[in-house]
Symmetry: C2
Subunit: 111 residues, 2 copies
Amino acid sequence: MKKQGYTCGLDAAVDVVGGKWKALILWALHYAPLRFGELKRSVPGISEKMLIQQLREMETYGLVHREVHHQVPPKVEYSLTEFGHSLNTALIPLGDWGEKHMRTIEAIPRG
Amino acid sequence: MKKQGYTCGLDAAVDVVGGKWKALILWALHYAPLRFGELKRSVPGISEKMLIQQLREMETYGLVHREVHHQVPPKVEYSLTEFGHSLNTALIPLGDWGEKHMRTIEAIPRG
DNA sequence: CAGTATCCTGTTAGATACTG
DNA sequence: CAGTATCTAACAGGATACTG
C-alpha cells in the first residue's frame, strides 16, 4: 500500500498483493480458517515477525478477518473475508501458470 | 528470481512477476512491441535505470524479446514472447480485480 | 499459544550525471 | 535514442530474545 492514483488495475492489485508473502498467506487461508501457528506451518520459511506484519496489513485492507477466542492457552483464528476470497479467485490463473511452468522457472540462472 | 524449490505455483509466479514494475511492463507490451522510450512513457514514474534493469531480467526469464535495429538514431524494440503472453493472460483476472476495487484500495489509510 | 521488541543486513529503488 | 555509472536513501526481511 504505497501509492495513490493507480495507472491501471494491475497496478492497484500488485500494490495490494505484492511482496513476498501476502499471496501465499491468502492462498493458505483459501481452504479454511487457520490459527497463527497453523498458518506459520502452512507458509514454509516465514518468520513470526513477517507473518504477523503481513496479517496486520491484510486486516487493514479488509482481506483477512481476525477472531480472538479468549481461552487459555490463547486461540486466534484468521479467515478470509469475501473481499479476500475475491482476490484469491483472481489469483488462481496466476497460480496455475506458475505450477505449469515451475520447472522452466527453476531452471533460469539466478543472478 | 531468488529461490529454488517453490512450495506452490503461486510462489513461483510471484517470484517471476513480483516487484514493483514487471507486471506493468508486461501489461504495456501486451498490445504491441514498444521502443525503449515509448515503454518509458507507457509506465509512468519508472526511471530509465529500473526500466532497463527489469527488461534485462525479463529477457533472461524468456518473457521479453529484444530486437536491435542498427540505425542512426538507434532503435530497439521490446516485445512479448509466447511465454510472456501466457503470463500476461494469467494476469488478466488480477488486473480486472484491481480495476474493480481501485476506489476501495485507494481509500485504505496508508502506513 | 500468539504474539512484541530490537538489532542488523541486503536489496530495491530514486537522483543525478554521463556516453556511443 | 538507448542506454551506463555511481551514489545514497528507504525499506523489506532475517535473527534473536523476551512476554501476557
